[in-house]
Symmetry: D2
Subunit: 448 residues, 4 copies
Amino acid sequence: MEIDIATIGGYEEVGRQMTAVRAGDDIVVFDMGLNLSKVLIHDNVETERMHSLDLIDMGAIPDDRVMSDLDGEVQAIVPTHGHLDHIGAISKLAHRYDAPIVATPFTIELVKQQIESEEKFGVGNDLVKMDPGESMEIGNGLDLEFVNVTHSIIDAINPVLHTPEGSIIYGLDKRLDHTPVIGDPIDMDRFREIGREGEGVLCYIEDCTNAGRKGRTPSEQLAREEVRDVLYSMEDYKGGIVATTFSSQISRVKSIVEFAKEIGRQPVLLGRSMEKYSGTAERLDFVDFPDDLGMFGHRQSVDRTFKRIMNEGKENFLPIVTGHQGEPRAMLTRMGRGETPYQLDEGDKVIFSARVIPEPTNEGQRYQSEQLLRMQGARIFDDVHVSGHMSQEGHYTMLDTIQPQHIVPAHNDLEHLARYIDLAEGQGYRMGRDLHATRNGNVISLVE
Amino acid sequence: MEIDIATIGGYEEVGRQMTAVRAGDDIVVFDMGLNLSKVLIHDNVETERMHSLDLIDMGAIPDDRVMSDLDGEVQAIVPTHGHLDHIGAISKLAHRYDAPIVATPFTIELVKQQIESEEKFGVGNDLVKMDPGESMEIGNGLDLEFVNVTHSIIDAINPVLHTPEGSIIYGLDKRLDHTPVIGDPIDMDRFREIGREGEGVLCYIEDCTNAGRKGRTPSEQLAREEVRDVLYSMEDYKGGIVATTFSSQISRVKSIVEFAKEIGRQPVLLGRSMEKYSGTAERLDFVDFPDDLGMFGHRQSVDRTFKRIMNEGKENFLPIVTGHQGEPRAMLTRMGRGETPYQLDEGDKVIFSARVIPEPTNEGQRYQSEQLLRMQGARIFDDVHVSGHMSQEGHYTMLDTIQPQHIVPAHNDLEHLARYIDLAEGQGYRMGRDLHATRNGNVISLVE
Amino acid sequence: MEIDIATIGGYEEVGRQMTAVRAGDDIVVFDMGLNLSKVLIHDNVETERMHSLDLIDMGAIPDDRVMSDLDGEVQAIVPTHGHLDHIGAISKLAHRYDAPIVATPFTIELVKQQIESEEKFGVGNDLVKMDPGESMEIGNGLDLEFVNVTHSIIDAINPVLHTPEGSIIYGLDKRLDHTPVIGDPIDMDRFREIGREGEGVLCYIEDCTNAGRKGRTPSEQLAREEVRDVLYSMEDYKGGIVATTFSSQISRVKSIVEFAKEIGRQPVLLGRSMEKYSGTAERLDFVDFPDDLGMFGHRQSVDRTFKRIMNEGKENFLPIVTGHQGEPRAMLTRMGRGETPYQLDEGDKVIFSARVIPEPTNEGQRYQSEQLLRMQGARIFDDVHVSGHMSQEGHYTMLDTIQPQHIVPAHNDLEHLARYIDLAEGQGYRMGRDLHATRNGNVISLVE
Amino acid sequence: MEIDIATIGGYEEVGRQMTAVRAGDDIVVFDMGLNLSKVLIHDNVETERMHSLDLIDMGAIPDDRVMSDLDGEVQAIVPTHGHLDHIGAISKLAHRYDAPIVATPFTIELVKQQIESEEKFGVGNDLVKMDPGESMEIGNGLDLEFVNVTHSIIDAINPVLHTPEGSIIYGLDKRLDHTPVIGDPIDMDRFREIGREGEGVLCYIEDCTNAGRKGRTPSEQLAREEVRDVLYSMEDYKGGIVATTFSSQISRVKSIVEFAKEIGRQPVLLGRSMEKYSGTAERLDFVDFPDDLGMFGHRQSVDRTFKRIMNEGKENFLPIVTGHQGEPRAMLTRMGRGETPYQLDEGDKVIFSARVIPEPTNEGQRYQSEQLLRMQGARIFDDVHVSGHMSQEGHYTMLDTIQPQHIVPAHNDLEHLARYIDLAEGQGYRMGRDLHATRNGNVISLVE
């Protein structure tokens, strides 16, 4: 059976991930993501109303025109998890393919919300839920399996396409977490089996984000301990405490919520993304928040909540808000500008349970946000955080575990892929032979 | 009663700490430290045989000639803890003063060992042990109290000199750790009392090392969780694992020892400093290591141990060795050079439970050490670590707690002290009034 | 005669410089500057309409309330050169003092323009011009002299107040340039004389901006050679070339203008500040631009010019525009956004004859501007530049030359002043004795 | 005619450059370099006595075993210039090939000296001189041409192999310098002709060192102006001035020598490499040094010279010495350690006309060297320098000029090559099609 890998997007950047695998006459598409930074650099761009071709020209969504080079039928579109750089282009591209979108329940729910907010295109693809650990037949003699992985969002999986020539593991976005705060540990046993059963692993497509980082990315449990350490140190403080984190990182939100309770404060989630992700997670029973946990996204209800907090005493609350990157319109930045009813006072604490994504625009905005907060008297606690992507040791472990015949490094520009290539060559692979340095828009033929 | 503070050393550098407080006719000296980097930049300098004046000229030990400007009698020499930058000049300077050395038991033991290795001077001062929480009368109407603090070495205290004019707190080298791995939490209650009793705190001498770091330095408990996360991730590895950390950081050594056991490996301490500090701690009952924990310092016994490890299988052991900064002659660097019987193989793990002290010489040496280890096949886990010095939030907390009338920032150069000065001015202090920017060799008169 | 130095502003930041010297009953004020970054961090602040007290609260202009502690009459307000951080608060503060503003002709002209744009206060102080090298009597037995210096703006001086106790040299903002592109070299001979005549130099107030930089800041001649090298390398290019630099740096503008001509292009200055500074310099005969050099500041005339350039061929022009720091509303940023009639094409060159002021906000904005330009096809030439402030060797030379009895480091925060203090202590001065580490709002009594 | 490119060394590092081109039955080898850092990391390695296979295993010299995959006869070994990373393996590898070494006169002379110092192998290859601008027939229907280029060493060329299928340009190590201080400007006219004549340029092998740097690398003329600016600023200094630079950078040495004379000092070259390179350049008439310029390499004559300088007065001399990277045994480092008769005094000037090669080992050593010099009182002038490698704009210009069909980025690791690949893709090339990302040991077939 012929096997091709089309590396459509996310091979020259982080963002707009998209990869297609053709096995015989059948094609499976993994991820259709958005590169948000290519949108935000322009003023006043509303992606909801834009045509896909314009977004392709801007570099914001994958240029899927290479799909016409693949001789087969798309059988499924498979987003691996709910981050925008993996699902953000579905509303612009999926309707071109007569195929269902297959994903885990949490991811499906986020895809559904995205499709609903789309104003330009009608996206009518079937939405099919499949849980981690499950499989389904696809096309002609193929099986699609979801292996449970651990990432900075819940219900993440690595899809595996089983073909007669061996398995294709689409390995994007995970860390090897044996003690995640929500959900099951990464299913290394299943990866080990896949590596040994049948023809083994024909190809492994790998996320290179942290391939330049030494050692191991710790478990989310460690971030939880950091949150505990910081919040308990504030146990006696009688003023305002505010926290921010990635809205989609439900396990972190959960830790903050729980330790807020433990130190005697009422947590409350504020900001549109906070409401969206945590609300969805709770509705789908991924997390069991306290019954009295408020979540507010609309400006009016947020302001009402802030007023209530000010009336009842800041010392009784712990708002968890958007704005961890200093985004100019996010809640925390607005608090820094004094645009909300919440008054920061000298000595109030602001916890960034996130790292600054290292790019000058972010760094400038985050710096401004911190300056504004400090001008109000706030004290900054930053980097109470652990990455969602594995480091070098995780890569070594994955290679040992699944022993792929071919590797396609992904999820970054060539400069970063290069670090992974060095690592993999140290393990006996060879660039140009079984280790494929590639670019957006290429097709790699593995079996001809 | 007249009160003077002589800022003798460590006000223009990290290293060679020394401060004297005169209250009436009595003087107490806090710390007599060594600036090791000023020694190591020269080839082949042996401090044991050098005269104190030469070491003063090199900037290696405090220039205590300013002591003659103080009109009083030295009643005690009080090192706060056993790090070299606090006790390393005792063997060169203490014999000039007719006064006992008063310290906690672990510190006293390290002072004793240092005096014994001195070849130039005979140091006959009395060595007096006092536990954290205890006090003694000093001179005429003064009391010396040891408040328990938490630092990267055990048995650390902040000495407090109670005078009729208020207390002088010599606050060097601590973090606010409520869950240290060994010993008691920092005694914030006592600090609070001291801040409120009698005349309150006349003066607070403060360690500024991390005054530029946002937020809070976490507890040693967090470093322990990092060690746990890393070691458990290696549970199934069948080759060599080696760890290095600050030899004097007994709590870290203890964590590594314990998790080594838990993952089924025999820990063993190798290197002269490892044997010295951990051996001393165990002998004094500060730590309860497993009975079969080997500690070897001499070249021959180290080599014998390495041979035994190679014979019995690397997979059964976890050597904890010196060399975390890449020091050219330390054990780990020698292992990288292949100068020991221990053979590193492809895939072996090396854990640096330490950060690189940020100075180009260290960075270069550490880089070389890592390169050599990697050439042997090792994989590096770095920065499995938490600092021993408090960050900005700790400083805020201390000021709230003890409310000193005067502050003297210490333990760094003026560029770093400046960051603390900004912080303290934000709390209402004022440089030139009650916040004293000073240099080595000055005398500050607090009460005239 | 009693001599006091009030260090009013610019001792904790770069920006809002202001220093007052009292000699007997007479006071001279040096500089009244604006810290623009404290304004820009807020949205929609228009300083022209704001009250001085609000601007003081924001940290934008000097808090001159300390002036009431000085027992004397203000006889003159003396801005050293025309940069905003030296003259930008005159329109808010000068009217409170019954004293003339004394400055060089170019500086006076800029002060006049600023006063005219002020909407809140009427500023009626006399404007008195004095050339470099000249002196005037001030108050009772004092002389004010202007020593010619070289900086990144023309007509800069160091004012010297001659008193019976010795001279006070207000030494802000210069480099030691013996081959400036416009005007005379720095007058080191006169500094040497002042150091040796009469009572010598009582006090030297020094600009510490680059006290941490090794070696020597080169002459503007070197920047001119850099401009030459870059522009000649483009001699054969048939597309667009655009340059940006500090608008007030007339000598740099002159170099770009001249080499543009040499490679066969018509230079044209675009943007409000470009028109303002270069127009003023030409009107006052400081620079002799080509007769046909266009300067356009208003939006309409700029757009008309851009259209003409596009019609007549980009290859015939070299626009010199505002926007070297990536300021969001400056001309070059607008060109990057495609908001002007000038069309950038693949291969067009953009020369930043400036460095990014190292602060995250600037860095983020500059990065965005470069990204936008690159998206249009532009190629970036950055850092074609030389600083206007002297480095360590300049400081050594000044101390050798004038041999001051006292030094007051200025023009930065304490962290930067600390580097100068280290340098000066290496020359025999001593902090707390004759080397004064100070803060905004202090008064230093030199002669009592 | 079949055309293969074997990318033997220098495609994963800077150092050990080696590339072979097979055209039909004939092979030409370009460069045989040494990666010195792989030697120096070990203690006490003497390359002169080592076998080539051991040096290959260390990664120090190219692994030329891939040569056996090329079906042809080596007709020439062609080093492009005299730097060690281009000629340093000739003494270890050239004797395996029955072919002459063809190079420019200066390069040939350096190769000869290297062969003479070799102790392990007898290297008997013919040494053939060819000047820039000349050509010779090679093998069967091939022509080898030397195009004059400008680099940080004199007599550098880019060899061009003219084949019936088009030209192969081996483009390593140059900047586009139209005003070099010694020799002719880069011959862009000839590159343009080659790009247009016959079949044009089949393949361009390019040096990517600075492909990540914006803009243009300036001419050596600019470095000369920097040297002038610095030395003239010291014209009145009555103490010691010492300069260091890359010994092989004769044009820089010449600038320092000439401006030393102009400010009234006798220059003198000290250190083995200084004597070697400058002596050779003078003997071959590349540079016309003053008759009285001393050059001393042996320890005894250096010490004698230093003694003479101390006797006759440091203010009359300007030693130009080795040690710009802080190499532990170089002359300047020894001066810092006080190991030479030259006494540094407070205020003496040390000029580093070089940049630190950005690698932690160098940075550490250079830092130590500067610290030692400063402890003697020296003042450091660093980075009086311009790179020898072109930046992005040079790469654009070369592509415009020669319009190659294929590009092979070289002279760095993949992470750096990636930056060039981005640049070239912006010009319409495509990785995997006509833009070849490669590794050491690969063979690229261009014409089959």
